[in-house]
Amino acid sequence: MPDHLKDLFDRVLDDEPVPPDGDLAGQAMAQGRGIRRRRGLIVGGSVASAIVAVVVALNLTPAPAGPPPQVSAAAARLAQAEPQCTWPVPDDATDVSIFLRQDVTERQRTGLRDALDGDPLVRNLVFETRQEAYEKFKVLWRDSPDLVAAVDASQLPESFRLELTTPAQYPAFAARFAGRAGVEDLIGGMCP
């Protein structure tokens, strides 16, 4: 019977229309990238709940001595994730954020700004203070009042935000700046 069944199925398929033209693989790749991007945002969500746990745990520690710990750059990174952009990307980045260390010195900060200002790849350079980062953070996490309450401006890093004139040059750019004194983390994003 199974052989016979196969013949019948083949007859069903006899009236198959001519498949549509077009670049099937190209369309699938474009659509697939979209799926991957959305999946990335969902993963970001679980990272966020991990951060909540960490921040809450920190605040429960009795009598914290010294300055409050800086929330990991992961939290800050999420604070800048414009929904239309993909963060992070390994190559071809249009936008770059450079997060500074908690203990960055005035000299390091100025040195970095001068270097970025003089770099032909950089345009629209903006410095973001802790307070500005916190304002963004509050908006982004308005649905999680616990997280917002657990974090204050001093725990978020300062950063430089910039756009690259040539997205394909991002790996070389990252190599030049990620290791500089005072830099905590550097990430590139692709914005339409």
Partner: protein
């Protein structure tokens, strides 16, 4: 991410080149897979949904989902089985969204004056009978008896044990025989 940045720093500018090179190779592999796998995927999809437009959409969605995971699938993966799994999940999702459709199809064979009445060709009757089975049993019948996958492969595709595949397959064929009557057995 920190690791990634560290990579950029340590391996200099060659890194970006390697990454792009890898991506181009991966896209080429995927394009070859699409060319090879699409015709059969679409036919399998059609046997599951009996609508060529929908079959095309389900195939496209399957390919897109596979591309989204292409980096993780690995070279030695059984792409035939994996793609069927993604496709069948797309079919099941689609059925769940319009769960009324099955009932309507199931009613059709009894409608008076229907061209697919007793005189209709056997393969048409088969498709109508198939549509009365639970969707997962339809998948087992199509994967086993049109695609010709082994019981173990079908089990892998559908995420059930081999004994479940054997049992449901036997039951499904028995049901088809009942619905199709003597013709089906005699031919």
């Amino acid at each position: 991410m920190n690791e990634r940045v560290a990579n950029v720093v340590s391996s200099d500018t060659g890194w970006g080149f390697t990454r792009r090179h890898e991506r181009a190779a991966r896209d080429e592999e995927f394009t070859a897979f699409v060319a090879a796998a699409t015709p059969r995927l679409r036919r399998t999809a059609y046997l599951m949904c009996r609508d060529w437009h929908l079959a095309q959409d389900l195939t496209q969605l399957t390919l897109a989902r596979m591309y989204a995971s292409w980096g993780r699938i690995g070279r030695n993966a059984n792409l035939a089985a994996y793609s069927r799994r993604v496709l069948m999940n797309a079919v099941f999702d689609q059925r769940k969204r319009r769960s009324g459709a099955e009932v309507v199809l199931a009613d059709l064979p009894d409608r008076p004056g229907d061209p697919a009445g007793p005189t209709a060709e056997l393969h048409v009757t088969l498709m109508r009978a198939l549509s009365t089975l639970p969707v997962r049993d339809q998948a087992i019948v199509v994967l086993r008896h049109w695609e010709d996958h082994s019981v173990d492969t079908v089990a892998e595709i559908l995420g059930v044990s081999a004994s479940v595949v054997k049992m449901r397959s036997m039951r499904a064929l028995g049901r088809l025989r009942e619905l199709l009557g003597e013709d089906f057995v005699l031919q």
